[in-house]
């Protein structure tokens, strides 16, 4: 062998190494050390985490912390709208009689102290739910818990739920059964309900978990420090600590990410241009969430009795240029919404909606025609009127959000073009809730947001006297269709309800904006961190060393 061959071998080996190295490096998910993010990342503005008890988590922020500590029975994937069995505690759910009895098998799983997760824990959870009554945060959703006739333990890994009546199985599994997440009976069982209630913000109480992250420390009002659960049997995390900071404003989030205090933050729509070129930061736009904005209408209020006429409501919907809103306000990153089911994920859209056919849509001419048909004519000031009653109402707008302000102004000017006068008044969130919860208050219209998730039936939203039906919408057909959607098998009931709701506009469905994240350059996986159902996937985050091309 001559010397050149040896050198050549060495050289080609080195070359191969150099060529392959970047590829190899790209696959290596580096450890991020500490990741700092604001609560509400990818969803909305930040607020405090004040509780870890999955049965008492009354805000989305608390829900997120708890959801990373405890594994649920089923995990709904936001991009498909289906159950992701790889992340679910249940390994199978069957309903042999198509809707009344459900047999659930649990996969082998362990608590962080080594004790196996069994159906005893499920029974314990159910006991707590019943004891809590209306204080239970999921009370009434999916019919829980009153719809359950009996919960039968068959074996440590199998249990059976029998309902009082037959229902749509997808609806019950997604919205009801999924609430029965196991809680550590061997750790909590010795405490009274009162003690459990009092300890809900103490990390020390929640030391036995089965989810990916555990709580290290809660600095009340400031931040929550979490770390990977070493005994977690799912995908590995690529960080040592995850810190969730509670911030007060969008500006603080931008400031945090610029100064390096935060690794990710929501890019505020109002400061869009200003955040385009921040050094060391890139923008990641998330897919649309399963939510919509809405204008609630008070159908109890005699001053705005005209809102009870479906033609007026449809006219309002037809007057609004949602596509224009998305372009101008959301910079093209948003979704037009005309019905109670957002287009993303498309799993639950009716065939008509999947094809893009909605009973309402931007058509000012049609809006004017509808108003004319309903008997309205333009008055001397250009505002539509009938029998001396003007089409004018007061719209309550949540204060402090630039995007909401812009949307409201847009809506106001669109409505003015068809002769409807909308007067705007700012209001603070808690005050608005107080008004909506008070049946005697005289609010007329208000702008809010609605998050869905699960099987999108409307029994809480649009059924007569239902919990979130603040506007008092009541329609016999709607009630019937909603019942069909929850009680009969298959999706035809759901489709019928959706189409009807879109035609009825019990609230005016409005567009929703996609959230864009500001991400520091070395942090990867941000696009997969949040899904449409507001679930967090901490295992998706990893880091690359910061380099010239990062």
């Amino acid at each position: 062998m001559n010397i050149f061959a040896g050198k050549f071998a060495a050289f080609s080996g080195l070359l191969a190494l150099l060529l392959l190295a970047p590829a190899a490096q790209a696959q290596v998910k580096g450890d991020c050390g500490t990741i700092v993010i604001p609560t509400g990342l990818g969803i909305t503005s930040s607020a405090d985490i004040t509780s870890f008890n999955p049965l008492l988590v009354d805000s989305l922020y608390n829900q997120q912390a708890a959801s990373m500590m405890y594994l649920g029975l089923i995990w709904l994937d936001g991009s498909t709208g289906q159950i992701d069995w790889s992340r679910s505690l249940a390994s199978s759910i069957t309903t042999p009689d198509e809707g009344t009895t459900y047999n659930v098998t649990l996969r082998p799983w362990h608590w962080s102290d080594g004790v196996p997760v069994t159906t005893t824990d499920i029974a314990y959870t159910f006991k707590l739910i019943k004891e809590l009554g209306p204080t239970y945060v999921g009370y009434g959703a999916g019919g829980m818990p009153d719809i359950i006739k009996s919960l039968n333990i068959i074996s440590p890994t199998q249990f059976q739920v029998v309902l009082k009546r037959r229902v749509n199985s997808t609806w019950f599994i997604y919205n009801g059964l999924g609430q029965l997440l196991p809680l550590p009976e061997h750790s909590w069982g010795k405490y009274s309900l009162d003690q459990i209630f009092q300890a809900q913000s103490s990390p020390a109480f929640f030391n036995v978990i089965d989810g990916p992250l555990r709580t290290v420390r809660l600095d009340v009002g400031l931040d929550l420090i979490m770390a990977p659960n070493p005994a977690y049997e799912g995908p590995k995390m690529h960080f040592q600590r995850l810190i969730l900071k509670f911030l007060e404003s969008d500006g603080a989030e931008v400031q945090g990410v610029e100064s390096g205090d935060l690794d990710m933050a929501n890019a505020p729509v109002a400061l869009w241009d200003a955040v385009q070129d921040l050094p060391g930061i890139r923008l990641v736009t998330l897919p649309p969430a399963d939510s919509y904005n809405e204008s609630q209408l008070n159908l109890h209020n005699p001053k705005v009795a005209f809102l009870q006429d479906v033609r007026v409501r449809d006219a309002i919907a037809d007057a609004i240029d949602e596509a224009g809103m998305v372009q101008l306000i959301d910079h093209g990153l948003g979704e037009e919404i005309y019905g109670p089911v957002p287009p993303e994920p498309p799993t639950f859209l009716s065939p008509e909606m999947k094809a893009g056919h909605y009973p309402v849509g931007y058509d000012p001419a049609k809006a004017r025609a509808l108003l004319k048909e309903a008997g309205y004519t333009p008055g001397p000031d250009g505002i539509m009127q009938k029998n001396g009653v003007k089409l004018s109402f007061v719209y309550l707008m949540l204060s402090g959000d630039a995007m909401i302000e812009q949307m409201t102004e847009f809506m106001q000017s669109d409505l003015a073009k068809v002769g409807i006068q909308m007067k705007v008044r700012e209001i603070e969130f808690n005050q608005l809730l107080a008004l909506l919860n008070n049946p005697n208050s005289d609010w007329q219209a208000a702008g809010l947001g609605q998050d869905l998730g699960g099987y999108p039936t409307g029994e809480d939203l649009f059924k007569t006297n239902s919990f979130e039906n603040s506007g008092g919408y009541s329609d016999a057909t709607m009630d019937r269709l909603i019942d069909q959607s929850t009680d009969t098998p298959g999706m035809t009931g759901l489709y019928a309800y959706e189409n009807y709701a879109s035609a009825q506009q019990p609230v005016i469905f409005m567009e929703t904006a996609q959230v864009t994240l500001l991400v520091r350059k070395n942090l990867q996986g941000a696009a997969n961190f949040v899904d449409a159902y507001n679930n967090y996937y901490p295992d998706q985050l990893y880091c690359t060393p910061e380099g010239p091309h990062a």
Binding site: D58, S201, G221, I243, A252, Q255, D261, A434, N437
Partner: protein
């Protein structure tokens, strides 16, 4: 002396009693009662009734008042339903941060004031004193939030030298003294700038008055060097009103403290009070108001006592 102490103690106790009573009745007389405030957006008729029963809020007012004193005596400061924490626990953590912050601020501010006051008193009537006097007047009118905002703008945004929020760098596996110190610089500077103007003015006048006194003229005539006079006698005498001033300015530090803590997101008692006021977390608010009130009264008492000890000539009404 003993009589003076007991009188002051008695009147302080009375003051605190009136304070506590005022606070209690103000909160419990709000329309709808505290339950609505505590529950906030969770307030439905059912949950309010539930909470009323649980907390005994539907009892007659006087009975509640009695129960409240009973809880206070036991050291129970209430429970925050918004934060799901006993209040006492919370206060303790935040109070520590505030103590560190204020102590450092007082020390820096006092030292600086003494220096400035000395210059102002010694150079009275001449340009250094005039400049200081003008600056004092100017800085006195500066609003706390403006000063804090400008400091953040200059030293945190324009020149990224110092952190603008928090108490320490969360990324560090365990917080270091250096990190605590760095986060204290801007807040302490703000408080110092705000308090130094009035503090140094009082001290400057005191020095000036002392320098005009007979014993100084006598000492100079006897040939004692000026620095000896200054640091030997004048300083000691002029420092006396400083004690009272510090005692009196103690509560005003809480005032400026709320604003400064809110700007810098410094988790002290003032910050907690501000956040609790915004979210209407009454259990915490009541507890903080009580604590500050009691500390203020005690601060005044202490200042009076120290003054009495230092200067037996002082008379009290």
């Amino acid at each position: 002396m003993i009589k003076m102490v007991t009188t002051r103690l008695a009147s302080s106790t009375l003051t605190i009693f009136i304070l506590v009573t005022m606070v209690f009745f103000m909160v419990h007389l709000t329309p709808g009662g505290p339950a609505y405030s505590i529950l906030g957006q969770k307030a439905t008729a059912a949950s309010v009734a539930n909470l009323n029963a649980r907390l005994g809020l539907d009892q007659p007012l006087l009975k509640q008042y009695g129960i409240w004193w009973w809880h206070l005596a036991q050291g129970q400061l209430g429970y925050s339903y918004l934060l799901n924490r006993p209040v006492g626990q919370l206060l303790w953590q935040y109070e520590l941060n505030t103590l560190v912050f204020y102590t450092v601020s007082i020390v820096v501010s006092t030292v600086l004031s003494i220096l400035l006051g000395l210059v102002q008193g010694v150079y009275f009537g001449r340009w250094p004193a005039k400049i200081i006097g003008g600056l004092q007047l100017g800085f006195y009118a500066l609003p706390a939030f403006f000063v804090a905002a400008m400091l953040v703008l200059w030293f945190s945004v324009d020149l990224p030298w110092l952190p603008a929020s928090g108490i320490t760098n969360l990324r560090l596996p365990s917080p270091t003294i250096a990190s605590y110190a760095a986060h204290l610089v801007l807040p302490v500077t703000t408080i110092t700038l705000l308090t130094v103007s009035s503090l140094s003015r009082y001290f400057g006048e005191a020095v000036h008055e002392e320098l005009a006194k007979d014993y100084v003229r006598t000492a100079r005539a006897k040939g004692v060097s000026f620095p000896a006079i200054l640091f030997g006698h004048v300083l000691r005498n002029a420092l006396r009103p400083l004690v009272t001033i510090l005692g009196l300015s103690f509560p005003y530090i809480f005032t400026g403290g709320v604003i400064v803590e809110s700007v810098f997101n410094y988790p002290g008692l003032g910050w907690l009070m501000w956040r609790s006021a915004l979210s209407q977390d009454y259990p915490i608010l009541i507890a903080i108001v009580l604590i500050i009130g009691i500390l203020t009264v005690l601060g005044n008492l202490l200042a009076d006592l120290v003054n009495g000890l230092l200067d037996p000539r002082a008379s009290y009404e």
